[in-house]
Structure formats: C-alpha cells, structure tokens
Symmetry: C2
Subunit: 261 residues, 2 copies
Amino acid sequence: MRYAIKIGYDGSHFNGFAMQPDKKTVEGEILKRLLKTGIIKSRRESRFQYAARTDKGVHAFGNVIALDAKANPVKVLSEMENIWCTGYATVKEGFNPRHAKAKIYRYYLINEGYNIKEMEKAAKLFEGRHDFSSFSRRDARNPIREIYSVRLHAGKIIKIDFLAPSFLWNQVRRITAAIIAIGMEKASIESIKRALNGERINFGIAKAGNLVLLDVVYEGLSFEKITPDEIFLRREIYKDALDYIMNATHSRNVGLTKPVE
Amino acid sequence: MRYAIKIGYDGSHFNGFAMQPDKKTVEGEILKRLLKTGIIKSRRESRFQYAARTDKGVHAFGNVIALDAKANPVKVLSEMENIWCTGYATVKEGFNPRHAKAKIYRYYLINEGYNIKEMEKAAKLFEGRHDFSSFSRRDARNPIREIYSVRLHAGKIIKIDFLAPSFLWNQVRRITAAIIAIGMEKASIESIKRALNGERINFGIAKAGNLVLLDVVYEGLSFEKITPDEIFLRREIYKDALDYIMNATHSRNVGLTKPVE
C-alpha cells in the first residue's frame, strides 16, 4: 500500500528537510524512524518521496511524504520529537507528492509600523507569470514561474500567504524581503517591476524561522486529519506566556489560596 | 548597578539551565553573550546569580538572573535564540534571586479522560508542610518543605499550578506523576498520604517538556514587563497550526484569488 502522510515540524530543531550526512534533518529523522521500526526495509524499496525540500529553519504543518509500506506509518511517525503527523491518505501506486496542485507558504512578521498599503501593492506584483531570477537562488530550473496569489493580512502580526504550484529555491523568502523593503520604504515599487522584467536586483532574503509551509494540495485527494497533542500544548503554552507576561498579576493567575507575604 | 532580569526560554533547545562544560545550557549561553558583548568582565566580578536551576527540557517565562553591570543588559540578552527577556528591574547591592517569596510552576497535560475529581483531591494533599522524600530526587537539602498551593485547572488541557517558596530537585515532576497516576486510577489517594508521611513510594517522574517555570516573585520588587516578539510569533504560528489542521478548507484560509484546478 502506498501512503501519503502530512508532516509538520518545528524547523528550529533541524538542518532543513533534506537528508545530509551527519546532520539532523527532518527527512533523515523520518527515514531513521521508518527503518528502525521496520515499517520500511529501505528507502529505495519504499519509493520514499516528498513534496517540499524546506530550508534550514523553515517550519511546516503540512509537508507531504509518500512511501510504500505494509502498515500505516502514522503511529510510528507520531512518536517523534518536533516532527508531527497532521494527516494521512492512501494513494495510487504512482503517486508522487512533488506533483501538487498547489503549495501554500505563510510568512510571519511583527508589524513594526510598515507601510501596509505599499506592501499590498508590492505583493500583487508577484502574482501571475514572471521571471523570478531576482527572487530565487539560481539552480537548474526555469526561473519563469507562475504564482497564483500573494496575500497580505495585516494586524499586530503581518502574514503573507503564497500560493503556487511550485516554488523556486528561496523564492518565498526573497519575495518577502522585497515586500518588507517596500514596507520600510527602502525600495520602490518600480524596482520590483524592473526586477520582474529581468533586471537583476538583490532585495535580500527574509529569515527562515518566520516561514511556515502551511500545506500542499493535490487534485482529488483528501487527507484524514490528525491534530497532534504537541501542537495543542504549544499553542496553550505560548498563549499563556503572552497572557502571563502582559497581564501578570501573579496571585490572581495562579489562584493563590494563601496570601504570600 | 545591579540588575534583575526575567528570562524566558524554550527548554527543548538546551541541556537544562545550569552551565555544563561542552553542553549548550541557558546559563552558559547567557554568560557567553554577556561576556562577548562586554556587559560583564567575568562571572565572579558581576556576581552573577539565578533563581532556579531548571532541568533539561523544562521551559520558563520568568526565571530570574541577577548581575552587576555598567549598562542595562536587556538589549544584548534580547537578541538570543530561544532565550528571551520578559522583564527587568534594578535591585539592591545584595539582591540574590534565589531568595524568592514564591516560585510558580505550571504543568501542561492533554486531558485523555483522567479522573479529574480524584486528581483534584490528590493535588490538595501536597499543600502545606510535608516530607517530600518520595517526591524529589535526594540531595543535601531538607526534604521537609512547604507548598503554598497546588491547583488544577481542567479543560481539554489540564494545567497544574504549583506555588512554593522553593522546590526540591524534580519535586514538581514527581508530584505531577503521582497526580497523573491518581487520574489514571493506577495509584490510590491512600498511597500518597502514606508517602507524605515518610513511607518511600516511587510514583515516577512526569516528562520535562510539559513543565514551565511561570514566574519567580519577590517581596517589594516589581519588574518592567517586556513582551518578546518571538513569543507573539510563536503564539500566532501555533494558533494558526491548530485552526488550520482542524478546519482546513484550504482555499478559504489562504484567500485564494484564482481557483486552483
């Protein structure tokens, strides 16, 4: 049976997704676990594949791996540290998770008084088909790409959502850096237009730790959802952290039975 | 000038608080940063001290360090990874953060159908002055201790708050393990009573990663609050993670402009 598994991870604990000798990576840890528990005999035999090779530091809720296995791998993959299963499906023999309908990335940014209107304008420029040479790290792939949408949600935290069938290396982080530069009024809308028309301009690269691969979507494939306990706990811990740090009147918060004096 | 700084950290990135040779610890990273930036010349000269020596894996929002420095150390300590400043105060010459009015720990637990009524009864037993020999790892200190309160908040996540002037080594985690055993009906209220009266019973130890040192409180000392951006971001990321995984209708969530087909 071939399985597709949605994988979430806290990227700060890994040297990126892709396996590397002597380095702790998401793929490396997953394969180690699958081999150790006998779920697969070898990478090759299981035809192990993945959707996105996220950079060092980048997080995910819904990256996708696929593998042939005799038993559902969800259980053994749910007992890892900083890696979680967030869904699964059984898929056809030839399913390759790289061939997605869309990948969705979200970039998080503390709003430090950016010019949001201009950032929204900038974001729009990246939608559609363009030459992304200035907005990616060069590799063998064609830099002419289509992005379905770049949407900005502004609040105390700005979120920028990117939707495309695939992304080039560092593409999201380089586009984000350009949008941030616009928000800080350190770059012009014109310069982005020129860069999208083939001129090489370096807008820098936004840091990895604020980027999340939200999901990978496939035609006609829906996943059974899994909500990992660890994500519940972390949400609650950071919610409490904020409440606590911002409002701390300590005796109230801890339900003090006896006055401390 | 002597400063007291509230320190938060993600314990999963460190080998505990206390410095150890060749291991990444919270104290070690803080001292390295203070020395490197010239905020202090040496540990001894700065009379560096701390409130709580949390175990490997335990998190904190409000542990407290104290040090003599010519300039406020908050800025340089706010640029670290997985360590945050959550408050600061200037203090008297002789201030030693160990001498606290109270320390507050919170344990987080997914509610998997525990017997909450019994857990609440068990929690109550630990309040007051008892022999905690069965509920701590033996060291030179007197095992007769007072705990002001042990309070249980039950929801989808159970939180157990501990308030005491000080805690023994592993005390919170060992008490929590006993309360969990009661909740699972694997131990009796009677056995806890016997253990608190001097009989040696091992109830096990709850895992470190779910424990947070919420705060350390001092008589007549209030801190300027700082809310680290990183905690805002993490709260938002894990909030989105849950919303996303639980409700994911992807096209809605990402504000799809163009139908993906």
